[in-house]
Amino acid sequence: MSANFGLIVSRILEGLPTTVWATLGGIALTIVLSFAAGLGMLSRLAVVRWVSRFYVEIFRGTSEVVQLFWIFFALPLLVGFQLVPLFAGIVVLGLNHGAYGGEIVRGAVQSVPRAQHEGAIALNLSAANRMVRVILPQAVVEMIPPFNNLFIQLLKSSALLVFISAGEMTEISEQLRPTLGPDLVLVYTVVLVFYLLLAIVITVVMRQLERVGARRLGRVPRERRRVLSRGHAPDSAGGL
């Protein structure tokens, strides 16, 4: 083990809070935008459907790095002020992943059986009550596994904040690079291990939420799976 191991870990740890805040902030914004866009795409009003669809297509169709550059470097020319790096990062992470999340919400709401809608109408529930008390509690459980994948994508994307100098872990590793040449493998390994641990934390939390949600619906919670095997969601990563 290199003599610099302690130094490397303590330096990378300095960037950990920024990575965590960017991820948490991004996740919070993603959840809000996902529901707004997802429910918006199912709205009865054509204008709302159109605006939601426009947002989703724009942010899924352009590259996240381009969005980051646009909001951090180009937007200030339009509005006259520049966002603080961390805040700009949260905005981009949220806007980008919210667009992917919108499709998750839309799909999950549509997957709730029709009879549930009809039953809620028969019980004379208002449109809002139908959504909040009948449809969403069932849909949310379906959303959790794809959101797990999405949040891990978001965590990984937080590394892009190195381009706007937000001071997160990847940037610290870039600062260490010129001075710690011989220990470069160690520097990057430490960073990757931290990301891996954060990804595992996200998965563990989401699994727990899924179990709680399934239990509240009276479903049998799925058996415990290995933390690492997440299964795949081909459309969570690509395509319009």
Binding site: S173, Y188, R230
Partner: protein, 220 residues
């Protein structure tokens, strides 16, 4: 508020970005090909249940999928350069890292496709006493691969949208060209907006093609 937008700058940046776009597309195509081949290799290794090797492949896939592509790019490029003396261009390093990263995703796609091949096909191939290699190449894969083409297409679009992060190691792809132009002329707004439009148009066309492929997969 008046928006200072210059169409002249757009016209000026256009050919520059087009040059960058060629590089972006080259990286996308090469990385995609690598991910198609390597992903299949990973999937077959994992499913063949070769002791140790299968488990190692599984761990590798999960570790790569859970960590940022950008850090992997930095690690591969700088470590190779400073510790082994192998000089690999930033372009080629980018292709390799994006290709390997996405192979970990495509291997899951292949796995799902292979698992969707009915069990009877395996049994029939065994009954015919086909050698193990022949079972894969003549029976299972010809049935599995067409089904996974749309998913591979979606990942190719994802790879296309990841290429701009290679500006971190100095690859002169489209966003880097836009950045260059912005630095020279201070026309940042036009340059980045144009880059965004290019990405939007191409990924839109590509996704329409993937959707078409999707509707045809049943007949393949």
């Amino acid at each position: 508020m008046t928006v200072d937008w210059s169409w002249h700058a757009v016209a000026e940046a256009f050919p520059l970005l087009l040059r960058g776009l060629v590089v972006t597309l080259e990286i996308t195509v090469l990385a995609a090909l690598l991910s198609y081949v390597l992903g299949l290799v990973f999937a077959v290794i994992r499913m063949s249940r070769i002791p140790v090797l299968s488990q190692l492949t599984f761990l590798f896939i999960e570790a790569v999928r859970s960590t940022p592509l950008l850090v992997q790019v930095f690690m591969f490029y700088y470590v190779l350069q400073s510790q082994t003396g192998i000089l690999l261009s930033a372009f080629l390093s980018g292709v390799i890292v994006i290709g390997v990263h996405y192979a970990c995703y495509t291997s899951e796609v292949y796995r799902a496709g292979i698992e969707a091949v009915p069990k009877g096909q395996w049994e029939a191939a065994t009954a015919l006493n086909l050698p193990r290699g022949r079972v894969w190449t003549s029976v299972i894969l010809p049935q599995a691969v067409p089904r996974v083409l749309p998913a591979l297409g979606n990942y190719t679009i994802a790879m296309f949208k990841e290429t701009p992060l290679l500006l971190g190691i100095g690859v002169l792809e489209m966003l880097n060209r836009a950045k260059e132009y912005g630095a020279e002329t201070f026309r940042v707004l036009e340059a980045y907006t144009l880059a965004g439009v290019f990405f939007l148009v191409i990924s839109y066309i590509a996704s329409v093609m993937v959707r078409r492929l999707e509707s045809r997969v049943g007949t393949l």
